[in-house]
């Protein structure tokens, strides 16, 4: 079990000034922290740290109390505040106090030789070049106290090629008009997606961000500043505890907000929003990996437009050398799924140049040829991919496609060999096995395979073909009456199947149900008016009904369409002999071929 529930990973508390709704009542934070992950972040956001220090101290005190009572929890405490000119000494005093508050946790950590459960990671805000200089000086002081700060800047200051690590910062954040909260949440989302993208255990699921915003200025709280907020008053009294245990009120209501279309849009926008920050912090590669995974996630949800957007961005990125090839493979798969074979081939050919040893690329290029019905080229590529060593996740698909190619090329023995090595049982597999067996003149075995295909739940689009081949096998076995039912089902599924009408006509003919047979052949002729065989078939049925004049006419039409139809010519000859006999006329003279 890797994901246990809707716990919070981050709590953002926007501290109130005098005009706001007031400070968070004592005890409320302790109750919120009960829902926070074993490693959580507590952001205390202040517009003026000196003004709000009293509130912050109370909250830090509650956080320390929480850690003392819950021995497996760890907190990153993140005061977020501007760095104003002339306040350096006061800030230093404040951070001395914050550091001292964690003294017992540091001692405990040292004794256990692990990281402290109380880690202070301030976020210093700067909006001008002067404030950036000031922030860097404060950062130096903090580092000397073993506190690692981040710097949050608006686009205005000139950072002159700054890099977070180079400046000894945890991270540089970029604030836009959304202010510090937006910047913090964007970076938090980036961190979550990075963690998900690099995790070897557990997949990604569409969940809302595991954060809680407590806005003491506006008196509201919610999962995210972009989603609905509820009144902060729900956190007071005993209602929170009740809510935490599963009622629909208060915090539980907030926590249960699932991800919706707004979250998906937010994820889509993330790569763009994080681009500058990633550059400053030398995290371009991680940003590329996140976007790649977002593409795959969209692909898994069959959200092809989103997938294309992300994968194309990764494929065109220079920062993710290894990921580009993979992105191009998935882009190729996406185009294949959409039927854009040209685009698919182009993407896969580019992937091939980046990943020349990739069997997966060759396999998908084979799929392109397959979709364009060049079964010889497709089977060549499939065989090459197999020799290169395709992964287990594609092995069965590759063998299935290769088998189908052989069926299409009427290489039934080869088809049967390849299809026999496919492990995953499916209706498609058994259908093509059936066709191959039928082609090899083994109708009983073929029928068994086709029945298996039906039992495995064939797709509606394949039903007509399966029923048709079942009818065909029964016809081959001489069971013409039994063949009628599957052929009628085939025609029910696809009334425009010429082959089914033709075969139905044949079976009816063999059952001497000539009028029905003529009806079937006439339907076949509606779909293929130039079919000489079906004209002749109508003729044969008319002949057996005793209408020799009409039969002669139909045979002649057939021969006009195809003069090489030998059996029609012989039948016509017999019919006309019979007609002449009835009229008592002599047969026409046959001088045979001319002699030289």
């Amino acid at each position: 079990m890797s994901v246990l529930g809707p716990e919070l990973k981050r709590v953002y508390i926007i501290l109130s000034d005098r005009t706001g709704h007031g400070a968070l009542p004592r005890g409320v934070l302790r109750r919120i922290l009960d829902h926070v992950n074993h490693l959580g972040d507590l952001y205390l956001i202040s517009e003026d740290l000196l003004r709000d220090w009293g509130q912050m101290l109370q909250l830090l005190d509650e956080a320390a109390g929480f850690l003392h009572s819950c021995g497996f929890s760890r907190l990153n405490l993140r005061p977020v505040h501007p760095v104003r000119a002339g306040k350096t000494r006061e800030l230093a005093d404040i951070y001395r106090v914050v550091g001292q508050m964690g003294g017992s946790f540091h001692k405990e950590a040292l004794g256990h030789q692990v990281a402290s459960r109380w880690v202070v990671l301030p976020v210093l805000r700067a909006q001008s070049d002067e404030e950036v200089r000031k922030a860097r000086a404060v950062a130096r002081f903090l580092r000397s106290r073993l506190i690692l700060p981040s710097l949050s800047v608006s686009p205005m200051p000139r950072l002159q090629g700054a890099q977070g690590r180079h400046w000894g910062l945890e991270r540089i954040l970029l604030e836009d008009k959304g202010g510090p909260l937006d910047a913090l949440m964007t970076n938090a989302l980036f961190d979550d997606l990075r963690e998900w993208a690099s995790s070897s255990v557990g997949g990604f699921s569409a969940k809302a961000c595991p954060g809680l915003v407590v806005d003491c200025v506006r008196g509201v709280m919610g999962r995210c500043n972009r989603l609905e907020m509820v009144p902060l008053s729900l956190l007071s009294d005993g209602r929170l505890q009740e809510a935490g245990e599963g009622s629909s009120a208060g915090l539980a209501r907030v926590l249960k907000n699932g991800a919706d279309e707004r979250c998906l849009r937010c994820w889509d926008e993330l790569p763009m929003r994080i681009r500058e920050t990633a550059r400053w912090n030398r995290m371009e590669e991680e940003a590329g990996t996140v976007q790649y995974q977002l593409g795959l996630f969209a692909l898994s949800r069959k959200d092809l437009d989103r997938a294309r957007m992300h994968l194309e961005a990764v494929a065109g990125s220079a920062s993710l050398a290894e990921g580009r090839g993979e992105a191009l493979i998935y882009l190729g798969m996406l185009h294949l799924r959409r039927g854009d074979i040209h685009d698919a081939r182009e993407a896969l050919t580019r992937a091939c140049s980046l990943l020349p040893g990739s069997a997966s690329v060759i396999y998908h290029l084979g799929r392109c040829e397959f979709e364009e019905r060049d079964y010889i080229a497709a089977s060549d590529l499939f065989r090459k991919a197999m020799e290169m060593g395709i992964g287990p996740e594609l092995e069965d698909d590759l063998r299935l496609y290769l088998g189908i190619c052989h069926v299409r090329l009427e290489e039934f023995s080869e088809a049967l060999d390849v299809l026999g090595s496919v492990e995953r049982q499916s209706a498609t597999l058994h259908f093509y096995r059936g066709v191959a067996l039928s082609g090899l003149g083994r109708p009983e075995d073929a029928l068994e395979s086709l029945n298996r295909a039906m039992a495995l739940g064939a797709e509606p689009v394949d039903l007509a073909a399966i029923h048709f081949y079942a009818g065909h096998c029964l016809k081959e076995m001489g069971r013409f009456l039994d063949a009628l039912s599957p052929l009628n089902m085939a025609l029910e599924a696809d009334p425009r199947s010429y082959e089914a009408w033709n075969l139905l006509g044949y079976c009816l003919f063999r059952l001497k149900r000539h009028r029905e047979a003529i009806g079937a052949f006439m339907k076949a002729l509606e779909l293929a008016p130039g079919s000489a065989v079906d004209h002749a078939n109508v003729g044969s049925n008319l002949r057996d009904l005793g209408d020799l004049e009409q039969a002669s006419r139909w045979y002649r039409r057939a021969l006009k369409l195809d003069p090489t139809l030998v059996w029609a010519r012989e039948n016509l000859s017999k019919v006309e002999d019979e007609l002449r006999r009835k009229r008592c006329e002599p047969p026409p003279l046959d001088f045979g071929p001319e002699r030289s």
Binding site: G5, L8, H35, F72, G111, Q113, V201, G389, P392
Partner: protein, 426 residues
């Protein structure tokens, strides 16, 4: 009985909890209901949700895999268990527990049993004892708490020679494989060598026990067919039994298992033929223990392999296209600052420094010869006092290097690292 088994690695991402998987498979085969809880850096687990898990699963016994690195956090989790329901029994297992001093019971008041023997055997005995009303304490293979201030040692337990007697944690379905690309496997247990810093030889009585080749291949094939693309064979010395390891590698080839393999062995247990076979079978990474590039330092470690032999093995492996990871350490007995630099230079000259090639300071764990006789090895602990369940670990300097020098070496390794010094194996 309901049992909750927890693997807790709070500072790194989750990996497959193979050890508690074995315990869960054994208990499940005997009809017990077992939940395994794998807590890593990114796992969501709050105080509230932990109570929810305890409430849902109603365990009579909760087990923790203890390592030096997670003791602080599992101490907190054990407290939470007892606060939720004091009648729940708590057992501490894993490498930290095997040789932990019994006096640790005084510091770990929430622990009812410390596991001293093979986990699969001991946990069954604990469950049987609990089923019979905990009569006849202490339980064999454990240190058993009799009262808040009293505990007693149970008799030693034997572990079976054939590991196949344990049901497979994979085939029995106790491990969650959803979304997993890599599987950790233990095809053998134990090590016959006598490296002074290592826990394994002592814990397994200097012998090696094996799963049959058939069982190993059955598991690998089963996992491969379920999408596992990489196997992490965590045996201490995979090629110790040469014929068996060849049989496994040939079996991998014969069964068409085309996954990547990571494995660890000794440099003196590989030759050209074996390395070629490894490459053919899909071994992508070979991990070798170097420890130090100084012959003099190595002589004091009981390892019995020369740096020259290690270099030969590296060349053999790389000649077959296999990546090599070199395990090395600093702060070793007899190691001077210059020796440590020599190791860094040696490794730089052999392989890229990333992943497990990032060296770490030697750790002194309970049960290792160097921990038991630290003074004789020139180790000077930095702390006069530490919790009784915590070993010396990295809090020491040596007769040959001050802690400042050790830290300087650490920083030099970090500077030379291509990935910031993050190791997978501790």
């Amino acid at each position: 009985m309901n049992v909750l088994l927890m693997e807790v690695n709070p500072y790194v991402p989750c990996s497959l909890p193979i050890s508690i998987g074995y315990l869960a498979a054994v208990l499940q085969a005997r009809g017990h209901r077992v939940l395994t809880l794998n807590v890593g850096e990114g796992t969501r687990l709050s105080p509230c949700s932990f109570r929810g898990i305890l409430s849902d699963t109603k365990p009579a016994l909760v087990g923790f895999a203890a390592y030096q690195r997670n003791m602080l956090i599992i101490r907190g989790l054990m407290r939470a268990v007892k606060e939720f329901d004091p009648s729940i029994r708590v057992i501490l297992g894993g490498p930290q527990a095997t040789f932990m001093p019994s006096e640790a019971m005084a510091d770990l008041l929430d622990v009812d049993y410390i596991c001293r023997g093979e986990g699969e055997v001991v946990i069954q005995k604990v469950v049987e004892a609990m089923d019979s009303g905990e009569k006849g304490l202490p339980v064999a293979g454990t240190t058993t708490r009799l009262s808040p201030s009293q505990w007693a040692e149970g008799a030693a337990v034997d572990a079976p020679e054939a590991l196949d007697l344990y049901p497979s944690p994979f085939l029995s379905g106790v491990l969650e494989l959803e979304g997993l690309g890599e599987a950790i496997m233990l095809t053998s247990r134990g090590c016959p060598y006598r490296c002074v810093f290592c826990y394994t030889p002592m814990a397994f009585g200097h012998r090696v026990r094996y799963h049959s080749v058939g069982r190993v291949l059955e598991e690998m094939e089963w996992l491969y067919r379920r999408g596992i693309q990489r196997f992490w064979l965590a045996d201490p010395s995979f090629s110790f039994a040469r014929e068996r390891s060849e049989e496994i590698l040939r079996g991998v080839l014969k069964k068409g298992i085309r996954a990547g393999i990571w494995l660890e062995t000794r440099a003196d247990l590989v030759d050209e033929d074996l390395v070629r076979l490894m490459a053919m079978a899909g071994v992508q990474t070979l991990a070798l223990g170097l420890e130090s590039a100084s012959e003099r330092v190595l002589d004091g470690l009981g390892k019995g392999i020369s740096p020259r032999r290690v270099r030969q093995a590296v060349e053999l492996a790389r000649g077959q296209g296999i990546d090599v990871e070199l395990f090395s350490q600093y702060g070793l007995p007899g190691e001077r600052y210059e020796d440590a630099l020599q190791t860094l230079e040696f490794v730089k000259g052999c392989v890229a420094i990333r992943g497990n090639t990032n060296a770490q300071q030697m750790r002194l764990y309970f049960g290792t010869p160097i921990h038991d006789r630290f003074e004789a090895f020139g180790i000077r602990p930095l702390d006069r006092q530490r919790p009784s369940y915590i070993s010396i670990g990295v809090r020491y300097e040596t007769r040959w290097m001050t802690s400042q020098e050790i830290h300087r070496i650490r920083d030099l390794w970090r500077e030379a690292s291509l990935d910031g010094g993050r190791r997978m194996v501790s």
